[in-house]
């Protein structure tokens, strides 16, 4: 299998500072699902843009080089 075909099948994202491979065509919803994260308990930032509409997660496709931050509320003062 050539490098090209592997690249076609996966996308490499930077998620919370780490490079991770996902199947090509993955959406933000797929990304959360793969990490077993409840969309109601996290907030996603995609390429420095905060996603305010959780209903749109399934429609946002991810591409190689995308930077995603997944955050949540933790204890703080």
């Amino acid at each position: 299998m050539s490098q090209q075909s592997i690249a076609d099948e996966t996308v490499t994202l930077t998620v919370n500072g780490e490079d991770r491979d996902f199947p090509a065509g993955s959406s933000v919803a797929d990304l959360l699902e793969s990490h077993k994260l409840d969309p109601r308990l996290v907030v996603v930032e995609h390429n420095r843009s905060v996603l305010r509409d959780r209903d749109a997660y399934a429609t946002i496709a991810l591409a190689t080089g995308d930077v995603v931050e997944i955050v949540h509320f933790v204890g703080g003062g």
């Binding site: 998620v15 919370n16 996290v42 905060v50 997944i70 509320f73 204890g75 003062g77």
Partner: protein, 265 residues
């Protein structure tokens, strides 16, 4: 009816038109367990509860997310921008917090120095302006400088939060006169934030006439946080009542409490 039948002869505590039932606000950091945190919040009687925004740890199975432990129907979740050292970074964190979907309020911190955690007031003012323009209700953590407090109010902050002493220091109220001055000169609520270490400190801060106190370490780092949360609740109520009651004038000399007349001959 005597005033003693009123828990506190008080006016409602309001920020930006929203009424809050407790003048004590508490943080959720540094507890030894989530159970202890929940019990302490309960004992404090606080309605406003602060949280921080951090990355989800994708490599760890256990979830540290606060939303599993706090009921947003019972508590008003106030997200902070703790740990941010520039206006740009604080604005980014505030936007993330808002997207959680609970409210548009933010406890804005822009820090300037890692040793003291004192605010970078230039960055704080800049971030306040940006966030107010974006519709945020900004509660600004600042030092006890009157001019900065006035500028924050002018910039649209809904509350100004001067420190009692540095974050996590427990040194108590270092500059009561400055806090009184800020309270006297500002129209927006003044909430003392940071540095309260024990009930005396909380009471003393409230006796300056401020509208409320936000604390975290003073409760969480106590030997018995739940008991301290209870003590802080009482201290905030006592301090408020004491302020409203109006203290007696101080004298350099003694004055007897009992009549001088009628002493035996």
């Amino acid at each position: 009816m005597t005033t003693a039948t009123l828990p506190v002869n008080d006016v409602p505590f309001e920020i930006a038109g929203r009424e809050f039932r407790s003048r004590l606000m508490v943080g959720t950091g540094k507890y030894r367990s989530n159970e202890e945190m929940s019990a302490a919040i309960e004992a404090s009687g606080a309605e406003v509860v602060t949280v921080a925004v951090r990355r989800v740890d994708l490599n760890r199975a256990n979830d540290e997310g606060m939303l599993r432990h706090l009921n947003p129907d019972q508590h008003f979740l106030l997200a902070n921008t703790a740990g941010c050292y520039s206006a740009e970074e604080a604005v980014r964190y505030a936007r993330l917090a808002r997207a959680a979907g609970f409210n548009e309020w933010i406890k804005l911190e822009v820090l300037g120095d890692e040793e003291t955690l004192l605010p970078d007031v230039a960055g704080l003012l800049e971030a306040t302006k940006v966030l107010v323009d974006e519709g945020f209700k900004v509660m600004a953590y600042t030092n006890e400088d009157l001019i900065v407090a006035l500028r924050l109010e002018d910039a649209g902050a809904v509350a100004v939060m001067p420190l009692a002493s540095p974050i996590g220091s427990g040194l108590g109220l270092l500059n009561p006169q400055a806090i009184r001055t800020i309270k006297r000169r500002l129209s927006v609520p003044v909430i003392v934030d940071a540095g309260v270490g024990c009930a005396t400190d909380a009471c003393a801060a409230m006796e300056q006439g401020v509208d409320g106190i936000l604390m975290n370490t003073g409760i969480a780092a106590a030997t018995d946080p739940v008991r301290m949360a209870h003590a802080m609740k009482l201290a905030v109520e006592a301090g408020r009542a004491s302020f409203l009651a109006g203290r007696m004038p101080k004298r350099e000399t003694a004055m007897p409490s009992s009549p001088l007349d009628g002493m035996l001959g």
